[in-house]
Amino acid sequence: MKKSLFISTLAAAGMVAGFASAGTLQDIQAAGVLKCGVGTGTAGFAAPDASGYWEGIDVAVCRAVAAAVLNDKDAVEFVPLTSKVRFSSLNSGEVDMLSRTTTWTFSRDVDLALTFVGINYYDGQGFMVPKDLGVSSALELDGATVCIQTGTTTELNIADYFRVNGMTYEPVPIDTAAEAQAQYLAGACDVYTTDSSALASSRSTFENPDAHVMLPEIISKEPLGPLVRHGDDQWADVVRWTMNALIAAEELGITSANLESLAAGSNNPEINRFMGTEGTLGEMLGLEATWAAQAISAGGNYGEIFEATIGESTPIGLARGLNAQWTQGGLMYSPPFR
């Protein structure tokens, strides 16, 4: 059994090696499928449903890219990656892009030879405490026991924060988010700290969410976004501008509802350039003229994706906050399509 698999794989390897010199974009178009690295299960960001269909805001980015490149939002092979193997899988070519709640940091961008192409969620580290504790600010947490996930930036952030404010704390190191939640609920620690989006989604699953409050302080910057390998700028451009297209579409008022009528042409030249009825933006990118419209058709614009996956209408219930359009006081800002 293994021998036959081995041989057919060798044959496939020989065939694939023939294309290997071409760019990532050409490889994907030849294969007809985008290999996208996602998380192994983060509520609202990436998780398979009961029938194995992947959903979440990270997954939506993959689907939008697949729709822009291949005109099929389901032409994606989702590769679940743990935080330990995600970067090496991207660098070794096992996935074409990574969209996996990954914080954009200096060392990852520069030292690990990765290219971050945008931000799909501005996160920050927060604190959650039981209401009974009677704490209303993180500055009142002197001497508290804190549940922290080890090996993440949260561990370093909280050490910095408590040192700067001259406070002490007792860490309870924990390996996974699920375990951290169980320990917190069992009363092993007074405070649970991690990215505030994860805190909110964790709180939404408690039996009694109202018995817990999130403190107003956000102590770190955690810009999460998709990334690709260094060295293939054309492919980086495709992912970057697909991400930008999702954001710009919300700003321009292009939604999945009015997409078809706008594709016929409108009196706004920027929308026309965006939809490919004017100009040659798609051709410059090496894609079809309607690439941006295809990307929007996958799951709507950024605002629609946000609302459908982690927004206030979902159980996770995150407000737009920093992730609103720049015109609404947020940080979502796409360079112009020109």
Binding site: A47, A50, P80
Partner: protein, 426 residues
Amino acid sequence: MADLSFVRTDMLPDQPAPLGETGVLRWLRTNLFSSIPNTIITIAAIYAVYFTLSHFLPWAIQPSWTKTSMRDCFDSVEVTGACWGVVTERFNQLMFGFYPPDQQWRIMLTVVLMLAAIAPVLFDKIPRKALVFSAIYPFLAFWLIWGDSVWAPAMVMAGFVIAYYIIKFLNPVAGAIVGITTAVLVAVIWWLYAVVPVSIFINNIIPIELDIVKSREIGGFALSIIIGVSGIALSFPLGVILALGRQSDMFIVKVLCVGFIEFIRGVPLIALLFVASTLLSFFLPKGTSFDLLLRVVILVTLFAAAYLAEVIRGGLAALPTGQYEAADALGLDYWKSMQLIIMPQALKISIPGIVSNFIGLFKDTTLVSIIGLLDPVGLTLAIRGDVDWAGILWELYLFIALMFWIFTFSMSRYSMYLERKLKTSH
């Protein structure tokens, strides 16, 4: 007075034994309350069992099998403990991963056929001709699980058949070395150059195909069983060869075997899995998609084989030298003496060790969740990623533990049966 007698002529009827010396009471007295320390231990143990069950059962026995989310369980008045709805809803996923639902019969069929294929290997009462099916089975299973044309695995199998007949007919004529070398050469050339065109050609005439299923879609217990069973099946012959090689008088063979065993045993399995998932793809040309599942199976096999070799070496060392000398005295060559005299005894001695190795290997398959394969433990993460089931913990782990226990317990019972059957001492 003549009938006066001092000897009883009729038997007294049997008296029932005193109440404290029969039945339940006696059993209790001799086994549970025979002395004061035993009494104390008994009472403590009964309390421990009661304490555990009185907490566990009210939690576990809940009318929550039809609930569709954690919130559903929280809101329901009658559910106060475990939320079993997750097992109902995700049962298929925990069993088959993302295998297409309309194709899942293929996995079931593979497992049923596996039992049929193993039977003649394990039970000697079944006719020996059934072993032919056992030989065909690996190729059949490969086709059933991954799909595509039946002719590709069939043609790969044909390579073995060709090699077998070459050896059969050439050996008497040209000697063993020429026969085996020719057979291996022809088989390799057949696999490299003929299998693909021939199977495509035959498939054009008689197309027998199943839908292709990618390795990425296989998950849950199906994945554990595939990795575990192929690891066990492949590591056994390799382990036997390594054990023999380690005892060999030939310097290079011995050094290679010792080096391999000591290297693999000195490295944790998780490190090998990371090698499989990340390091290997750096060595291969960019863009090559060497199946991750295959890489994992290969490294798991190597890992298990190294441990197995040492277990079998223990069996070999336990045999008295007289057995080796007797085999030599009968004029048997090395392979014949191993096959007929040494190995049957050595393997019999090693059965408990071999089986516990296999059980360990099967449970170790859960480590693949760390490299992102969705085995049952990996799926718990994915299921918690669904907002409906976020935060669910014990229900899933208990279910998975129970399933693993069923598999491993049947393996250990089987090993005990085998030991009894092969027992020759008195």
